[in-house]
């Protein structure tokens, strides 16, 4: 699928691509065109595609070139790769945070999923409780987590 078809299928309006107005140099426009064609071939959703193209625009204007195409054969890997380029410090900080959270003494059997929610990163914790003793154990474990986080 080419970019024109992707735009038609996803009903993309000019206003959705307002950020491309900043690409004044021909070299930048050509780079954007190459990225958008490759992206369309991977058929992302409307919102993933638009936010991906905005990141790509930022990165083009920041002077990135070849590295923009790393992992470009699979959309989610490519998306992650661009995210790391656009948010390098946050990526590093999240990586450290993830390791730190993984090492904490979570309650046995708890499902711990690290994620970023807007301007905060942390873990989503899922626990199964069948009675008061479970609650006691979980609270005790979480108190140990709290101590380690302090």
């Amino acid at each position: 699928m080419n970019f024109k078809t992707w735009k038609e299928q996803k009903k993309v309006k000019d206003q959705d691509l307002i950020f491309t107005g900043s690409l004044k140099e021909i070299l930048h426009q050509e780079l954007f065109s190459k990225i958008s064609e490759q992206m369309a071939s991977l058929k992302p959703s409307f919102s993933d595609g638009i936010s991906f193209l905005e990141s790509a625009t930022d990165l083009i204007l920041m002077g990135h070139t070849e590295e923009l195409f790393e992992n470009s054969t699979e959309f989610s890997a490519w998306q992650q790769s661009l995210k790391r380029l656009r948010y390098p410090q946050t990526a590093l900080r999240d990586e450290e945070q993830k390791k730190k959270f993984a090492s904490l003494p979570w309650p046995a059997g708890a499902k711990v999923k690290f994620e970023r929610r807007g301007d905060r990163s942390g873990v989503e914790l899922k626990v199964f409780i069948s009675g008061a003793p479970d609650v006691t154990k979980i609270v005790a474990a979480l108190e140990r987590v709290e101590q380690e986080l302090k």
Partner: protein, 376 residues
């Protein structure tokens, strides 16, 4: 010091008899001044602006009258559920700014395509008088720098003089000018009863150079603050927005040291801290106007409380803690608070919320609401 630069100035018929109109006519060449007509497309235009239109709006001045309510609560106070705000009220005597900061929130806020100065200040003062006489003992803080810099156009309007004199009648009320200019000479001969604070938004020289175009240099702002202090005005500083850049720790350390060298903590009414934040929709205009080689446009921002884009919460807390510790290590008496921040960040930075801090409690104590007053 040069006059603010405008390519075109329009004056409404209703504003013609005002002191401001007379002053504008005396300061600017007649060729760029004309009477505003009701069919002027530029003056009538409303709605979002393109980058070019926004740039042009800074170069076109319109003297007009304001027909709405002058006196309002600070926007932060309307998000009390999400943010911890400090009972600041705003008096808008115009809109748009003749300086050009990359992060300026006016880029997503204004819908008028020109710079406006409202010539009916007497009406604004009447509104304030009514409120002040109803609540003379309440410690209202009123700022004039929300949608226009308080002082950068003041040599045209001389509104500072009228406002200082007006507030002298209400000693429990506090007037706050907020500026990035160094224009203070026009009011230094007016006696203050000590309830006018002149405040500067400040940043390290590297940030001013990179992001605060057309503003006074740091040393000029600090020199202006020294002049105000000598004349009995209260002074304050807003280290806001703190902007992350590779040398941020060194540069903000130098800024703290500079403040500490030039001023005694007891002489500085307050230092507020805030980190970079802006509405998501303004990123397109910022990108187009300033490119991506700016500390602001290239910043790593995420949607946070109030739906604004902000730095990662942990980075914000680190920046606040760093600056608070730096200032307090230089002198524990510095009076510091956070602007438009969440209770979580307050706790991370100070280990308490403002109402638990005796030196800040009066700023955050709930006050009667302007709207409640007007509806009563």
């Amino acid at each position: 010091m040069s006059l603010p630069s405008f390519e075109r100035i329009y004056i409404d018929e209703a504003s013609e008899g005002s002191d401001v109109a007379a002053r504008v006519r005396s300061l600017y060449p007649a060729e760029i001044i004309s009477v505003a007509t009701s069919d002027n497309d530029l003056l009538n235009r409303k709605g979002p602006m393109s980058a070019e239109e926004f740039n042009r709006s800074k170069r076109t001045l319109w003297l007009t009258t304001f027909k709405g309510q002058f006196f309002k609560r600070c926007p932060g106070a309307t998000q009390k559920k999400a943010l911890t705000c400090c009972n600041y009220h705003v008096l808008n005597l115009g809109s748009q700014c003749n300086m050009n900061c990359s992060y300026c929130y006016l880029q997503s806020y204004l819908n008028s395509h020109v710079t406006k100065i409202f010539t009916n200040i007497d009406q604004a003062l009447a509104e304030l008088k009514e409120m002040a006489e109803s609540f003379p003992s309440q410690p209202f803080r009123v700022g004039t720098g929300e949608v226009i810099d308080s002082l950068s156009l003041d040599e045209i309007t001389l509104y500072s003089r009228k406002l200082i004199e007006f507030f002298n009648q209400y000693p429990n009320w506090m007037l706050e000018f907020k500026t990035k200019s160094a224009k203070v000479d026009q009011f230094l001969d007016v006696t203050t009863k000590g309830n006018t604070t002149v405040s500067w938004s400040i940043n390290p020289p590297a940030v001013i150079e990179s992001e605060e175009h057309g503003t006074a240099r740091l040393h000029e702002r600090l020199a202006a603050a020294e002049k105000c202090l000598q004349k009995g005005f209260k002074i304050a500083f807003h280290i806001d927005p703190m902007i992350w850049h590779p040398e941020w720790k060194e540069n903000y350390t130098s800024l703290a040291e500079e403040l500490n060298k030039k001023f005694r903590a007891e002489d500085v009414h307050i230092i507020s801290l805030g980190t970079l934040r802006f509405q998501p929709e303004q990123r397109h205009m910022m990108r187009e106007r300033f490119g991506m080689n700016s500390y602001v446009t290239s910043a790593e921002m995420f949607k946070g409380e109030g739906d604004k884009l902000r730095y990662d919460a942990a980075l914000r807390a680190e920046m606040f803690q760093f600056m608070i510790q730096k200032m307090k290590s230089l002198n524990p008496k510095w009076n510091i608070f956070l602007c438009m921040e969440t209770p979580e960040t307050w706790i991370q930075s100070f280990e308490k919320i403002p109402m638990q801090m005796p030196e800040l409690r009066s700023f955050f104590k709930p006050l009667p609401q302007v709207r409640e007053f007007q509806n009563s």
